[in-house]
């Protein structure tokens, strides 16, 4: 379309100019004008209507004679004047207006929506002499469009609503499933104690159907014995309004439909509603757990009983062992006592003189009996120590006095080996020890020293105060001990590998006993030695300041 005129009109104008005479052309044009559905009208430059076709009558309701001569604004609603004037101004300047949608007034007072196109009419000299206006009634189209848009909007809203609703249903279903399939029974009761919510677990746990539960009093789920106080508890809980969790150690029970009782844990929380405070309860059946606990408890008790009886048995056996040891001690020492006694008596030769060979034999009997006695004593001592049957009587002791006694006791043996015994210069110190056991330790170490020292050598005892303890050293100038043997010599029945002929007379228990006795008195024992250069046995005892 060009110049604001429909194509058909334009085409006919070309036909008119080229092939037909003027009259024919006007008739064509008039026919086209009259059959057009659009309103086609002419206006002066000031807006006065000059022509009006049938289409215009259909669109606006006015007949040609009612419209021609009137200002075009009579078709407009109030308030349009300014725009109409601005359009006229545009046209007067040779511009056009195309497909501008405006609302106009039908003769019957209704709104007519039209799409208008305005173009200036120019004469042969190029002067603008008028305005051609085509107005197409688009009321119906607009109404349909609006209706369609409204429908679409409604549809969209509906779809949205539907989606929201579906999502809500889904969420609701999920939530419901969650509650329904919770491992715990979930109940809500109103302020009167009537059940308002019950999940599936509640049905299976209590044996009631949901219909039986809903609206009925929660008290049927409480064992008869506890029912009396239940309402009171519930009310005071609801008014306190604080959530109470599970696992408070309360021994709670619930009742099934068949009347059986089972242990439960219950957590409760208040839920404010319009009709008062409801209470939500989560109930856990702890039958299995309680059973497991009982089983664990009974097992524990069983083990404790067994442990106790075993302890008693161990104590009894220990007692028996001590008794056995005491009796062995007596039984072994009694015959040894007479063997040694008679040997000594015979050695005195008061009952008649012995020849050299008899004297030597008797010496063997005597010596070996003494050895046997030492062995028995050591075994008994060690077994008593290990059984915890040896009780120390510790006191503040003068080390000098104890050393003097022990040196006196060892001297005959040392003399017999031509080994000298020396008491050191620093023995004037007090120690906290059991006198008998200290003597035993010193005797053991000194006799060991003398045993492994050759004629002309020396054994000595000395002491040094070392902070809170006293270090006592028994030294010899004997064979010495190899480094690798220095710790093993405190083991039971250990005897140093390089033992000269004739000195294998120890029990192998002496140092083990010394170690035990020193440790029982709160000290430690160790040895420093080098083969060929003698040994230094050190042990510590608590320093007594009394």
């Amino acid at each position: 379309m060009r110049d604001g005129v429909p194509d058909s009109v334009q085409a006919s104008a070309v036909v008119q100019r080229d092939t037909l005479d003027h009259l024919n052309a006007e008739r064509w044009l008039a026919a086209i004008l009259e059959t057009s559905d659009d309103a086609i009208l002419g206006k002066s430059l000031s807006g006065i209507i000059t022509s009006w076709n049938a289409g215009a009558t259909r669109v606006f309701g006015y007949k040609a004679n009612e419209a021609i001569g009137k200002h075009v604004s009579f078709l407009a609603w109030p308030g349009e004047e300014e725009r109409i004037e601005s359009f006229l101004e545009k046209l007067r300047c040779g511009e056009r207006v195309t497909h501008f949608e405006v609302v106009r007034k039908h003769k019957n007072g209704r709104k007519v929506i039209v799409s208008i196109s305005l173009s200036p009419i120019v004469d042969a000299n190029g002067t603008i002499i008028g305005i051609a206006k085509i107005a197409r009634d688009i009321t119906e189209r607009k109404t349909i469009e609006q209706a369609l848009a409204a429908n679409e909007l409604r549809l969209r809203k509906l779809t949205e609503l539907e989606e929201t609703a579906r999502a809500e249903v889904l969420a609701e279903r999920k939530f419901r499933e969650l509650i329904e399939n919770a491992p715990d029974a979930i109940l809500q009761v109103d302020s009167t104690g009537a059940i308002v919510i019950a999940n599936r677990t509640a049905e299976t746990m209590f044996g009631y159907s949901r219909e039986e539960l809903m609206g009925n009093g929660v008290d049927v789920l409480v064992p008869e014995a506890n029912r009396a106080g239940h309402a009171g508890h519930r009310n005071s809980f609801a008014s306190a309004g604080v959530t109470r969790p599970m696992g408070l150690g309360l021994d709670l029970f619930a009742r099934r439909k068949d009347g059986t009782k089972f242990p439960v844990e219950i957590s409760v929380s208040p839920v404010p509603t319009e009709s008062g405070i409801n209470v939500t309860a989560v109930i856990r059946d702890v039958t299995d757990r309680k059973q497991a606990e009982r089983r664990v408890r009974s097992l524990q008790e069983k083990y404790m009983t067994e442990l106790e009886s075993r302890q008693k048995e161990a104590e009894r056996l220990n007692c028996l062992k001590s008794e056995f040891m005491a009796s062995i001690s007596h039984e072994l020492r009694t015959p040894l006592h007479t063997i040694i006694g008679f040997a000594e008596l015979l050695e005195e030769e008061t009952e008649g003189s012995l020849n050299e060979k008899q004297r030597r034999f008797l010496h063997h009997i005597h010596g070996d009996s003494e050895h046997l006695l030492r062995l028995i004593n050591d075994v008994l001592d060690l077994s008593r120590i290990e059984a915890g049957g040896l009780h120390l009587r510790t006191e503040s002791l003068s080390l000098q006095a104890i050393v003097a006694e022990t040196v006196n006791a060892i001297r005959p043996y040392a003399d017999s080996k031509s080994v000298s015994v020396r008491e050191g210069d620093h023995l004037d110190v007090c120690v906290w020890a059991d006198p008998m056991r200290l003597r035993q330790i010193l005797y053991n170490l000194l006799s060991n020293g003398a045993k492994f020292t050759e004629a002309g050598g020396e054994v000595s005892v000395d002491a040094a105060v070392d902070e809170s303890s006293v270090r006592i050293t028994v030294a010899d100038t004997g064979l010495g001990i190899a480094k690798e043997e220095c710790t093993r010599i405190f083991d039971k029945f250990y005897q140093v590998g390089f033992t000269p002929v004739g000195v294998r007379e120890g029990t192998g228990l002496g140092l083990a006993i010394c170690k035990q006795l020193v440790e029982m008195q709160g000290g430690t024992i160790w040895v420093e030695s080098e083969p060929g250069k003698g040994s230094h046995f050190h042990f510590s005892l608590p320093h007594s300041l009394v």
């Binding site: 005491a326 007596h330 040694i340 008596l345």
Partner: protein, 120 residues
């Protein structure tokens, strides 16, 4: 006047050992085999010193010592206990029974003579 010593031990060898040592030192010795005999022989023999083995059948050394101490004649007589071993509590037990002292076996001639001499 000879000094009389009553010895009590349930073994023959034990009794013979004590008797031999003491007789070689010039003491007069009477033997008893158990606590009952100790009481019989003590009243008849009136010893200056009594040596009792603690472990004896019927009633032992401790019971015999207690019984002897109840007899006015033996109120001050030295009574020595012979014991095979020295478990905890023995010294107290011996003192409580009224013994003057004790000797732990084995007892050779030297120790026995020394002990007896010191008590007479």
């Amino acid at each position: 006047m000879e000094i009389r010593i009553l010895i009590a031990d349930d073994t023959l060898s034990g009794r013979e050992l004590l008797r031999s040592i003491l007789e070689s030192s010039g003491y007069e010795v009477v033997e008893a085999e158990d606590g009952e005999q100790v009481l019989e022989r003590a009243t008849a023999f009136e010893p200056h010193l009594v040596i009792l083995d603690l472990q004896m059948p019927k009633f032992g050394g401790c019971a015999a010592a207690v019984a002897l101490r109840k007899i006015p004649a033996f109120e001050r007589t030295p009574i020595v206990a012979l014991i095979a071993a020295l478990p905890d509590g023995i010294p107290e037990q011996v003192a409580q029974a009224g013994f003057t002292g004790y000797l732990v076996k084995p007892i050779g001639p030297a120790r026995l003579r020394q002990c007896v001499a010191s008590l007479l």
